[in-house]
């Protein structure tokens, strides 16, 4: 990886930015090198009052992409430079991926806004979570290059997929109508870590009821309740309000230990995935010639 490419990215060349991100993904450039070329001090920028990274997560098909499109259009029209990392899964069998989030994004077609928005589709590659650990390096790069906010749209996630907490300053969970009865909202998992919940598809029956159930559930807990917002990405109802609330969203601070646990696990996973012995150990495991604990010990050495 050539330092000139990183410098061109700093100068605003979009292709060089795209190339630099690929180099991070392919491990031909590491983030510390990139930041030292850019001249960023790589100090941890986790401030609690102002967010740089927001994860938008939720089950497949609840409308994350359409909603994100509406929200980042609004932010970009207010003069914010927004980068969107849209994550889709890689096949664990072949390693290939079909990245289709762009199909739902119209903001990139808006002549007035497209220079304010950078969209990059990211495949999870070998990572098992809804946000691969490399995304945290990509976020650092984008922030150092002057993108005001980085939005991560995760892979459609189920009840307990909270790894996005490792990477994002703020977590927004998108829900839809008819996602089960009140007891679903009481269950532990993703909703516990949310800094805001958006119930999308408010044009459909059951959305308001579901939002009320979630609010009620939050009120039973201790600490600050996150906002619960009804939207329809289809009609645009509630989207402006959601954009304003999310832009200035504060962390509920309910679960900082849980977030650090996710960061730790994410770092560990990244370390294992980067290990050059991984492939041969997986083959040995598959053929039964070594045990799991043995493989883990070898990876730790």
């Amino acid at each position: 990886m050539n330092a000139d490419t990183v410098l061109a990215a700093k100068g605003g060349c979009r292709r060089s930015l795209a190339r630099t991100i690929s180099a991070l993904e392919n491990h031909t450039l590491n983030i510390d090198e990139a930041l030292s070329i850019i001249g960023d001090d790589n100090s941890s920028k986790l401030q609690e009052s102002h967010w740089e990274t927001m994860a938008i997560t939720g089950a497949p098909g609840v409308g994350k992409s359409c909603l994100v499109d509406k929200i980042i259009s609004h932010w970009a029209s207010q003069g914010k430079k927004i980068a969107l990392l849209a994550v889709d899964p890689s096949s664990s069998r072949t390693g290939g991926a079909l990245l289709g989030d762009r199909v739902r994004l119209s903001v990139v077609d808006d002549i007035m806004l497209k220079d304010m928005v950078y969209v990059r589709s990211i495949a999870t590659r070998k990572s098992s979570s809804s946000v691969p650990a490399i995304v945290s390096d990509i976020v650092k790069l984008l922030v150092a290059l002057g993108w005001d906010r980085v939005v991560i749209e995760t892979v459609g996630a189920g009840q307990s997929e909270v790894r996005c907490a490792a990477i994002a300053d703020r977590i927004v969970v998108v829900e839809g109508p008819a996602r089960g009865d009140g007891i679903q909202a009481e269950k532990a998992g993703l909703l516990e870590l949310a800094d805001a919940v958006i119930v999308n598809k408010s044009d459909m029956a059951g959305a308001r009821k579901h939002a009320d159930e979630i609010k009620e559930s939050f009120e039973l807990g201790i600490g600050q309740s996150p906002p619960v917002i009804l939207t329809s990405a289809l009609t645009g109802d509630g989207c402006l309000m959601a954009s304003d609330v999310l832009l200035n969203l504060q962390s509920t601070g309910r679960s900082s230990k849980a977030r650090w646990r996710e960061r730790l696990l994410s770092r560990l996973e990244q370390r294992i995935l980067k290990n050059p012995q991984l492939d041969s150990l997986l083959s040995s495991l598959a053929s039964g010639s070594i045990e799991l604990d043995e493989a883990l010990n070898k990876l730790n050495n």
Binding site: A18, T28, S91, T94, L98, L99, R102
Partner: protein, 147 residues
Amino acid sequence: MGTMIRVVVAKPGLDGHDRGAKVVARALRDAGHEVIYTGLRRTASQIVETVRDEDASFLGLSSLSGAHSHLFPKVCEELRNAGLNDVIVFGGGIIPTTDRQALFSCGIKAIFGPGTSTAEILKFIEVAIELDDVGVGESNDWYWQGD
């Protein structure tokens, strides 16, 4: 981990038929590549911006509308104007054989019509990635002439 091949599959112009594009996208995915699908009715500049921002090394254009002789060269020209000279472009859809030579001359490196096996398209990717000067703005006038 190695370098992944990233391919943008795009539908330029007024054309709503995307079964072919989806079949190709799926075959590329199953061959282990990362495929970015643009969706329908893209303009040439939207496609070029997607290729740029996604850092794709291949661009596949699909057209069944009959406008390929206008749209494909336009995309190639805009790729060169944007400095994306090393991107390798291939096309597919309903492209009469009499139209093909002109498209090869403007920088398209392969044209796959109905009945092409997905294996042939994968083979093309495999061969083209090894040639280092067959991008849309590069000197080599090689193009795929079948297996």
